[in-house]
């Protein structure tokens, strides 16, 4: 005769909440691990190893051209960074670029997604291709194109706007404006593509029912379409925010951090690649990684982003 302890009761309770799968389900799960396992291991190796290496290097004062002077300094590099105004100004710039570009891209991207969704017939592929073209262009190429457009020597924007000799890249705010503009132009198609997928998931009968009930287009948008797209919007926001926070190419090409336009990535580049100060640069990179983790945490926990639902599994 078997007796049951309190522990067994709790196990059976949890089993009741989450019923154990059948043999078939378990063997499918096992097969899933066999198939995904190698990819998982490789992923850990290619992402985990550099992160751990950066964490380790960040504890040293180490200059690539003076390997003999390598010295363990503990958390000193982090102290130097977090007490330096340059780090905070770069962080504010990066956050500003992220918030502005993601907000504008969300609005324009949604409008473009609606256009792509509504347009029918032979025009549909043409419109979709036209909207996606900027995203297909390499960021460095697009950065040069925007820089040339606004530069004093080669640019046409000053003539177009009647601004004479105004030097866009000599002033922090005008330089950030061009950087944001270029970023928005380049990545709005990405957001609109994610939102288009969301739009396609909104049940047509629900919209139809609202229409029959006399809801206006505006009410249908706010009460039916957007709530049904929540997961897509959140995923689009998360992906773009992470992408925007790592901004490097546009800043590097247009100002290289001059006029107070330094970002967190360009700061990491400056310490690691330009100065060859591997320890300090690794510490900046680790802090950048922490910022990215915070964004992920906030997006997933606070805004309740459900990645599985966005993939259509919900």
């Amino acid at each position: 005769m078997q007796t049951r302890s309190a522990g067994d009761v709790s196990v059976s309770r949890s089993a009741a909440r989450k019923p154990r799968g059948s043999d078939k389900a378990r063997s499918e799960a096992r097969l899933g691990w066999y198939l995904a396992g190698p990819a998982f291991v490789i992923l850990i190796a290619v992402t985990g190893y550099p992160i751990l290496q950066a964490l380790y290097e960040s504890l040293f004062s180490f200059r690539l051209t003076a390997p003999g002077d390598r010295e363990f300094v503990g958390l000193k590099n982090y102290g130097v960074i977090l007490t330096d105004g340059l780090w905070w100004s770069a962080l504010v710039n990066t956050a500003l670029i992220t918030v502005v570009t993601v907000a504008v891209e969300l609005v324009i991207g949604f409008a473009l997604a609606m256009v792509m969704h509504k347009v029918l017939g032979w025009l549909r592929p043409i419109v979709r291709t036209a909207i996606l073209v900027p995203y297909a262009i390499i960021t460095v190429v697009s950065a040069y194109a925007w820089q040339y457009a606004f530069a004093l020597t080669t640019g046409f924007m000053n003539d177009l706007l009647g601004l004479g000799d105004f030097d866009w890249f000599a002033n922090k705010w005008s330089a950030l404006f061009v950087i944001c503009l270029s970023e928005i132009w380049k990545t709005t198609p990405f957001i609109s593509l994610l939102l288009l997928a969301g739009l396609a998931q909104v049940p047509a009968d629900m919209t139809e029912a609202a229409k029959v009930d006399g809801a206006t287009a505006w009410e249908r948008l706010w009460r039916v379409t957007l709530p049904n797209m929540k997961a897509s919007i959140m995923v689009a926001l998360l992906f773009r925010a992470l992408d925007a926070f790592r901004i490097f190419d546009n800043v590097y090409i247009m100002t290289n951090g001059a006029a107070g336009t330094e970002t967190v990535s360009s700061l990491a580049y400056n310490q690691t690649i330009s100065r060859l100060e591997i320890g300090l640069g690794s510490a900046v990179s680790v802090l950048l990684f922490v910022c990215v983790l915070v964004i992920c945490f906030v997006a997933i926990k606070v805004f309740k982003v459900d990645l599985a639902r966005a993939r259509g599994e919900g």
Binding site: S61, L64, T65, A66, P67, K76, V80, I81, D84, L86, W87, A151, L152, T153, D165, D167, F169, A170, N256, G257, A258, A259, L267, N270, Q271, I273, S274, R275, L276, L280, V284
Partner: protein
């Protein structure tokens, strides 16, 4: 089944071809046993490539030189070379180095030690500044190849109209007054880049100062001379240019090429710049993108002085050729360097690429004199020139200056002291850059 075997065979043959290709890339010798030397060069008009081909032919099979091109910006050239050398990359045999990065490369042990007889041979008859630039801790560690210097360029007609006597040394004060009187600009390099250090260093040394007082010291022990009378005199020149409104459009984003274009297009009637601007102007006139009359109006004299009676110390640039400590063919590389920096090659390179020779005798060559009517001014300028700070920490010092002395309109009498404090904090590892 047959299809699968075909696929496997395809993959196998692709892998074999790839492996063969990689072996060819990594190999440094040809089948005949002639060592192939890889020479990493700064981009130019093809002159170094021609020299490589000529020296290969002249070596009679002792070596062959392959050329790899580095990025155009000096700082990026350093980044690429240092990262490769730090990884003990044996594929680098020869490298064209900006003199300011010679101490760092040598101090890190990345340069092969040059035999005493070659040190003597490569420095004989070379202008003093170029030898200084290629020397670290009293040893010649690279071969001076060409030695650049900046001149003051002006439009003859505008200088005349302003009553500027260019037969005598011109001062910055006179230049600002002339530009203001004629409603034109002075082309200077105000970009947050290495060119800013070139300008600041030239002004500080011309005023009798020095940026680094103990160049051999370790970073945290370096003593700087930016916060000095000379430093404040340099800051005053920038303040005067801004106050007189003669900086010209886009001063804060202007490098040497942009300055040359501004001068060519008439946006500035005066500029300080390297001699390549003459070859560039000549080409523009020949191609018809600039009036011949404008090119005929080009005038030149030595770099502006800080005050009357105080001789200017013009900027010194150029390129040295170093042999990598990790090269597997160092003897052949030394032979190749002797060929590259020969008098004949320096003269040909000056004519073809507009870069002044390091050997003084080259300026007596009639072809050089014909191509560069200002050859005597260049020689005079090279003799008076002062190198930029020779230190293993040049990058920190230079970036620190570029960061604090830019934009030009923000420079005040406080800039020397704030920039000095900032650079010292960076060198002590207390600040980000």
């Amino acid at each position: 089944m047959a299809g699968r075997w075909r696929t496997r065979l395809g993959i196998l043959s692709a892998a074999t071809v790839l492996a063969g290709g990689l072996t060819a890339c990594g190999g440094s010798s040809t089948a005949s046993g002639t060592p192939t030397l890889n020479w990493y060069i700064n981009p130019d008009n093809g002159g170094q490539q021609r020299i490589a081909a000529d020296c290969t032919a002249a070596s009679n099979g002792a070596y062959a030189i392959d050329v790899s091109i580095l990025p155009s910006d000096a700082a990026q050239q350093r980044e690429q070379l240092m990262r490769r050398l730090a990884g003990n990359d044996t594929s680098i045999d020869l490298m064209s180095l900006d003199p300011v990065f010679v101490p760092e490369t040598s101090e890190a042990g990345f340069l092969a030690q040059i035999p005493a007889d070659l040190q003597q041979q490569w420095s004989d008859g070379v202008v003093d500044g170029a030898v200084q630039g290629a020397t670290w801790k009293d040893q010649l560690v690279a071969a001076p190849f060409w030695a650049n210097t900046q001149l003051l360029w002006f439009r003859e007609s505008v200088a005349q109209a302003a009553g500027l006597d260019t037969s005598q040394p011109v001062t910055w004060d006179q230049l600002v007054a002339a530009a203001q009187a004629q409603g034109t600009a002075i082309g200077v390099q105000g970009q947050r880049a290495e060119s800013m250090t070139v300008w600041v260093n030239a002004m500080i040394t011309s005023a009798g100062g020095t940026i680094i007082e103990n160049p051999d010291a370790k970073g945290e022990d370096l003593r700087l001379g930016i916060d000095s009378e000379a430093g404040r005199a340099a800051a005053k020149v920038m303040q005067d240019i801004t106050a007189a409104g003669v900086g010209g459009p886009g001063i804060d984003n202007r490098d040497e090429a942009a300055t040359a274009n501004l001068f060519q297009q008439g946006g500035a009637a005066f500029m300080v710049n390297w001699p390549f601007v003459y070859a560039q102007g000549k080409a523009a006139a020949e191609e018809g993108t600039m009036d011949q009359a404008v090119f005929d109006d080009y005038g030149w004299t030595t770099y502006p002085a800080m005050s009357q009676g105080q001789e200017a110390k013009p900027p010194l640039g150029g390129i040295d050729v170093g042999v990598s400590a990790f090269s597997e063919h160092q003897d052949a590389a030394f032979q190749a360097v002797s060929c590259i920096v020969s008098e004949q090659n320096q003269a040909a390179y000056m004519v073809s690429d507009g870069n002044p020779a390091a050997l003084e005798s080259v300026y007596d060559d009639p072809t050089v004199q014909e191509a560069y009517p200002m050859y005597d001014t260049i020689r005079e300028s090279l003799k008076a020139a002062a190198p930029r700070p020779q230190t293993a920490y040049y990058n920190e010092v230079s970036q620190g200056i570029a960061d604090r002395w830019q934009p030009v309109s923000s420079v005040t009498q406080q800039t020397p002291v704030t920039s000095q404090e900032y650079i010292l904090e960076v060198l002590r590892g207390e600040r980000l850059l």
